[in-house]
């Protein structure tokens, strides 16, 4: 850790995985000894071919794997500044999810109104005050650059929005609860180029307030938006560095092969 700080003197580590191993219930080991820092107010992109474990790794950060019996974590993910190991059995996964929110691959709004979708995280946290909810919903929708498009129809069903709007709604939902880290699991893979561009611009603004960890299939996307890039292959972290370094001057041959399209 000291070593990493020397390398990037101005960066603060928001979270880091130490010797993280993960196995699914059927016994397949999906992650092998992953050590990766997530820097505060930076975007860290996880790239790699399908099945390399990048989504599995992402879903460790909000203990999504706990929903299914038999999955096994080993190692730790430390969340700073309080040094909580979020994989610790004694740490409630709900507490973790209240601090770290997630946007999924396929837009997955609830079949409720736009307003209720955004307000849901706050309702779960016991917020009942109408004015607080109204303000927070507006703030989150503005943060997700969706406010102007939906302000006149907040009580319409979320399903009536377009795919790109639905995904921004999901971002607003994840944003409304002021998370410390936001996880994005290939958030634009189901969207057209314009909706993708909107969301990329959005993320660039979001990192002012929080830290972002994003899984992407699209290398150009990783190059465009991220500050750090991690290349994973077969459950292992092959290379992690500043994005421009990984893309222009990778240390490992495998990374170079993947980035230049010779492989994957």
């Amino acid at each position: 850790m000291v070593d990493k700080k020397r390398k990037h003197p101005k960066e603060i580590i928001k979270a880091e995985s130490n010797a993280l191993n993960f196995s699914y219930a059927d016994g397949t080991q999906a992650l092998k000894n992953i050590n990766l820092p997530v820097y505060e107010n930076k975007i860290t992109a996880l790239i790699g071919p399908s099945g390399c474990g990048k989504s599995t790794f992402l879903r460790c950060f909000n203990r999504m794997h706990d929903l299914y019996p038999g999955n096994k974590y080993d190692g730790e993910i430390i969340l700073h500044p309080d040094n909580t190991n979020i994989l610790d059995k004694r740490v409630d996964p709900i507490e973790v999810r209240m601090r770290i929110s997630m946007v999924f691959q396929k837009p997955n709004p609830f079949p409720k109104s736009i307003y209720e979708n955004v307000a849901y995280g706050l309702r779960v946290r016991g917020e009942k005050n109408k004015r607080v909810l109204d303000d927070k919903v507006e703030e989150a929708l503005k943060g997700a650059s969706l406010w102007d498009e939906v302000k006149k129809r907040l009580h319409d069903l979320a399903f009536n929005l377009s795919g790109g709007q639905q995904q921004r709604l999901c971002i607003a939902r994840a944003l409304a609860t002021d998370p410390e880290i936001m996880l994005f699991d290939e958030p634009t893979s189901a969207l057209d180029p314009i909706a993708t561009m909107n969301i990329e611009e959005l993320m660039a603004g979001l990192k002012e307030k929080l830290s972002i960890l994003i899984v992407t299939h699209n290398m150009q996307q990783a190059a465009r938006i991220s500050d750090y890039t991690a290349y994973m292959y077969l459950g292992e972290l092959v290379e992690h560095d500043k994005t421009n370094k990984v893309f222009t001057n990778p240390r490992k041959k495998e990374t170079e092969d993947y980035i230049t399209g010779k492989f994957g």
């Binding site: 019996p69 709900i94 999924f104 997955n108 849901y120 994840a174």
Partner: protein, 314 residues
């Protein structure tokens, strides 16, 4: 050379076309057989229904609904029977629905998948197929004598609830399974507990399927005769149970739960077993009403399912 190629293509085309015709024959045969079966079933039901309607036609008036049974067939009505059926169904509804939904949610959302949950699953599915007379005997032993509830509306309601419970549980579980995993994950990801996910999402999105199951279960319960006879429903009853709602405080009373009763199918059974033909007219009229109620309930179930499917598309 060019002609050769053309001939070859035409040759090939003829072969493909005859092949398609052959394959399509299966489509037509299956569609024909299916249509034949559906039409003959529908016609059978329609003929039965119309037969009842024609036979019972002289009794289709308001008096038939507002009169008690009588020794004179023309003066006899089904007042005590339909009121009894309605009250029994109210008990059935309030007993089976909360319990059935809770059981379905528990089995889908909470229960760990192991040999024990498999055992429960097999049992629930089995219960749906147990002959209703068995439920009647069970209820006679348990509710009437074991709990001392007597031969009352409460007992009948609970008995039919037993019958309906597996239908509600199975419908609830199927409706819950139709909710996509990513919606569930979205709710967990914002920090919801299992209870919140069940209450705010799972139950709300499976509402249509559950309601369909409930209505179909009720439609089955309304026509059930054997278990109600087994627990000792009366066959001739010329009074109404105490009214559930009153004009004086506390406006609601529960004395009706302990009243004796009869239900529509029993009233019908009673009349059909009389030697006088005049009573058979009453039976036919009652039968037509039962079928109509069942059709209405099932129609409602289909309508609700259709509306909800239109609203929620995953």
């Amino acid at each position: 050379m060019v002609n050769d190629k053309k001939a070859e293509i035409e040759n090939n085309l003829t072969r493909i076309r005859s092949l398609i015709t052959k394959h399509k024959r299966h489509d037509h045969i299956f569609a024909g057989v299916g249509m034949f079966i559906i039409i003959s079933l529908t016609i059978t039901l329609l003929v039965l229904f119309l037969d009842l309607v024609f036979d019972g036609y002289p009794r289709f008036n308001l008096d038939f609904l507002t009169n008690f049974p009588s020794r004179r067939a023309t003066a006899a009505g089904i007042l005590s029977a339909w009121v009894g059926s309605a009250l029994v169904l109210i008990v059935t509804f309030f007993a089976a629905v909360p319990l059935g939904i809770a059981a379905g949610v528990y089995l889908e959302e909470y229960a760990k998948k192991n040999w024990f949950s498999d055992l429960i699953e097999i049992n629930v599915t089995n219960l749906a197929g147990v002959p209703s007379i068995i439920y009647g005997l069970l209820a006679l032993g348990l509710f009437v004598y074991g709990f001392g509830l007597g031969q009352t509306i409460l007992t009948a309601g609970l008995t039919l609830a037993l019958l309906m419970l597996p239908i509600v549980i199975v419908a609830t579980r199927e409706a819950i399974r139709a909710i996509p995993i990513h919606i569930r994950e979205a709710a967990y990801a914002v920090g919801a507990t299992k209870w919140q996910v069940s209450l705010h999402h799972v139950i709300q999105y499976s509402y249509g399927g559950i309601l369909t199951g409930v209505i179909i279960g009720m439609a089955r319960a309304i026509g059930e005769t054997a278990p109600v006879i087994t627990i000792g429903a009366l066959t001739f009853i010329a009074f109404l149970p105490p009214s559930p709602v009153g004009l004086e405080p506390p406006f609601i009373n529960f004395e009706w739960l302990e009243a004796g009763f009869t239900v529509l199918p029993i009233q019908m059974f009673n009349w059909i077993s009389r030697p006088q033909m005049a009573f058979h007219v009453n039976a036919a009229a009652t039968g037509a009403i039962i079928i109509l109620l069942t059709l209405l309930m099932n129609g409602l179930a289909i309508k609700i399912r259709y509306n909800i499917r239109k609203k929620i598309k995953w």
